[in-house]
């Protein structure tokens, strides 16, 4: 379960932004997330939909206790991200589409490294590793350096790295960005499988196809504010015959 309540986050203006705004800038801060609240329930996929720069990544980083909120609170699996960050991180799996891997390690070494960081016992780790390597057919390249693996193989390593400790909450930040169709399919399968296992899942995207394919619940975020928060069915019911893309654009236009 993820419970986000009255969450806000501001960032100092970058040098470029300061130049752009000049002396007229009233504040030296930019609001990335502006007083948002939502809930992600176990066994359901929550999609955070928004254009680039909407505040999706910041929201997910706040959930993963990578950033500290300026106001509001987040509870992950019942733990406060500010006060109990260690407990939150133990129960969380985080995957982004842009993350690369340690290229000089082998998949075996990399997965072992993360298992050690999650404090997994040897027997539990070996059992889980073998299961996942079997499932994703990874044994053949498990001892090869990651630098020598194909994109698809690397993505499989990323998946195992994310779920090796069997987390109860999964955070996916645009996980399929820049991937080919086949590799993206691995991710889609993983997200669905996590739902079947009863995990709490939040994933951000700006790809409409993924929203309709995966979402149980969804929120539309734009300039840090939530424009919609509810079930995918409720969003679809309000589309009045429009495509998902058109409904999304209309929502952004209304907000402007």
């Amino acid at each position: 379960m993820i419970e986000v309540s009255g969450l806000s986050k501001h960032f100092p203006l970058s040098r470029e932004q300061k130049k752009e705004k000049g002396r007229k800038a009233l504040s030296h801060k930019v609001t990335a997330v502006d007083n948002i609240s939502f809930q992600c329930r176990p066994g359901r996929i929550f999609t955070l939909l928004g254009p680039n720069g909407a505040g999706k990544t910041t929201t997910l980083r706040l959930i993963a206790a990578l950033l500290r909120p300026d106001s509001g609170s987040i509870r992950v699996a019942g733990y406060d991200t500010q006060k109990q960050a260690f407990e939150v991180r133990r129960r969380l799996g985080f995957l982004t589409g842009t993350t690369r891997l340690y290229e000089r390690l082998t998949p075996l070494e990399l997965v072992k490294y993360y298992a050690d960081l999650y404090g997994m016992e040897k027997q539990r780790f070996e059992k889980r590793r073998d299961e996942l390597f079997d499932l994703l057919d990874m044994h053949e390249f498990a001892g090869r350096r990651i630098a020598k693996l194909s994109g698809g193989m690397r993505q499989k390593v990323s998946i195992v790295r994310t779920i090796i400790h069997d987390p109860e909450v999964m955070v996916f930040d645009e996980p399929t960005v820049g991937l080919d169709v086949l590799t993206s399919q691995n991710i889609i399968t993983l997200i669905r499988q996590c739902r079947e296992e009863g995990k709490t899942i939040i994933f951000s995207t700006h790809i409409m196809g993924e929203v309709s394919l995966l979402s149980d619940d969804m929120a539309v975020i734009h300039e840090g504010k939530l424009l919609f928060n509810g079930s995918f069915d409720a969003f679809s019911a309000n589309m009045r015959g429009k495509t998902l893309e058109a409904a999304f654009i209309d929502l952004l236009k209304e907000a402007a």
Partner: protein, 397 residues
């Protein structure tokens, strides 16, 4: 602690598989000294031998004077005496390297010698360092001739040669060979060790901070239960280890370099080996350790601040100059460890290493050096920790 060790082990494995780190940490320090010593000593020996074996072409115009000198010069097998060359031609040929020297005697040379006056010989030559040996051969011949003339004059006047030299000065240098060597090479060795410490730590610092940020792996690492301080400590340990490792390997390189060159005089060899004794090495490393901690913290701070590997590289490369300058000042003659220089980082290590090699260390000054180095290391480490705790710096790319 367990998490820090996990991170340390992984970062070390990762760094040791990086070719750039391997090159700056192991290959370069290990090979530099043997190559430097071997090539320079061989080149020096070859050049000296060449200059010694060279048959000099000497132009001579005595104007019919100094026949005994002429005969003595003619009898030498290492010189070809050429007479009858006009002065201008001789000067041109010397400049063009087809003649090594030209001796032009005054026309009234013998008369002046006979009347006990000063008689002039003009000695034309073109001297660069490597020709000095050839030039000296002719000068020696001239000095021997002058000595013979002086003996003749003293004999004619019935005087003892001792009149010419009233003082009998015996020089007794009480500085030990080690002290003399410390002055000559004592500054040079720490200069290289400091540089290797910095260079050895440089690439791992860039890769483990800016490199990880750029690849996005740092973000993933921060979502694990590993605390920021544990992550930083693990990375920091590797950067310090590679810096110190680089200095150790360069010392090993120095040892191998000295062992493999047979041309090093045995006395010098013994002195250098005494520098490499365990007590001196231990003292050197107690100095290098806080300095490397200081380097590692600064390098990691700059690297964490950078958005990419390239940005970190361009910010850190000029820092090499900031390391070289104080280390180089320590090479200058007359520079000594005192209460002020003991506070200047890098320079204090350079100067105290010189004092250690010479065996003239002042315990109070050493205490000041250690104190200042530990203080700098602590401050830079604190800065690094603060940067690593800043989410805007850590997550920006």
């Amino acid at each position: 602690m367990k998490t820090t060790i996990v991170i340390f082990k992984k970062e070390l494995l990762d760094s040791l598989r990086d070719r750039r780190t391997l090159f700056t940490m192991i290959v370069m320090p290990l090979l530099l000294f043997p190559l430097l010593i071997s090539i320079s000593s061989r080149m020096m020996l070859t050049q000296t031998r060449k200059a010694q074996e060279k048959i000099l072409k000497v132009g001579l115009d005595t104007h019919g004077n100094a026949m005994d000198f002429r005969a003595s010069l003619m009898s030498r097998k290492d010189m070809i005496v050429i007479e009858g060359i006009p002065l201008e031609t001789a000067r041109r040929r010397i400049r063009g390297d087809s003649l090594d020297a030209y001796l032009d005697f005054d026309p009234g040379f013998d008369d002046r010698v006979e009347s006990l006056s000063r008689a002039r010989i003009t000695f034309y030559f073109k001297s660069k360092d490597r020709e000095a040996i050839g030039k000296n051969r002719i000068r020696d011949e001239l000095e021997r001739y002058e000595h013979r003339l002086l003996e003749n004059r003293f004999a004619r006047l019935g005087l003892n040669m001792d009149i010419h030299r009233p003082l009998d000065i015996h020089e007794q240098n009480l500085a030990s060979a080690k002290e003399r060597l410390a002055e000559a090479v004592g500054g040079f060795l720490p200069y290289l060790f400091i540089l290797f410490c910095f260079m050895g730590a440089m690439y791992p610092a860039i890769d483990l901070a800016a490199g990880e940020k750029e690849r996005g792996t740092l973000e993933t690492l921060l979502t694990t239960p590993a605390g920021r301080f544990q992550i930083l400590t693990g990375k920091f340990g590797v950067v310090v280890l590679t810096g110190i490792g680089s200095a150790v390997i360069s010392m090993l390189g120095l040892y191998l370099g000295i062992r493999q060159v047979s041309e090093i005089p045995p006395q010098l060899f013994t002195v250098i080996m005494s520098i490499l004794e365990w007590r001196s090495i231990l003292m050197l490393f107690t100095l290098l350790l806080p300095l490397t901690v200081f380097f590692a913290a600064i390098l990691l701070s700059v690297s964490l601040f950078a958005r990419s590997f390239k940005e970190a590289q361009s910010a850190i490369s000029p820092m090499t100059i900031a390391v070289i300058i104080p280390a180089f000042i320590g090479l200058l003659p007359g520079m000594e460890l005192n209460t002020v220089t003991a506070l200047i980082p890098i320079l204090n290590v350079s100067l105290s290493t010189r004092a250690i090699i010479a065996g003239s260390v002042s315990p109070l000054l050493m205490l000041e050096v250690y104190g200042s180095l530990i203080l700098y290391a602590a401050v830079s480490l604190l800065l690094c920790t603060r940067i690593f705790s800043n989410e805007h710096i850590i997550l920006r790319t």
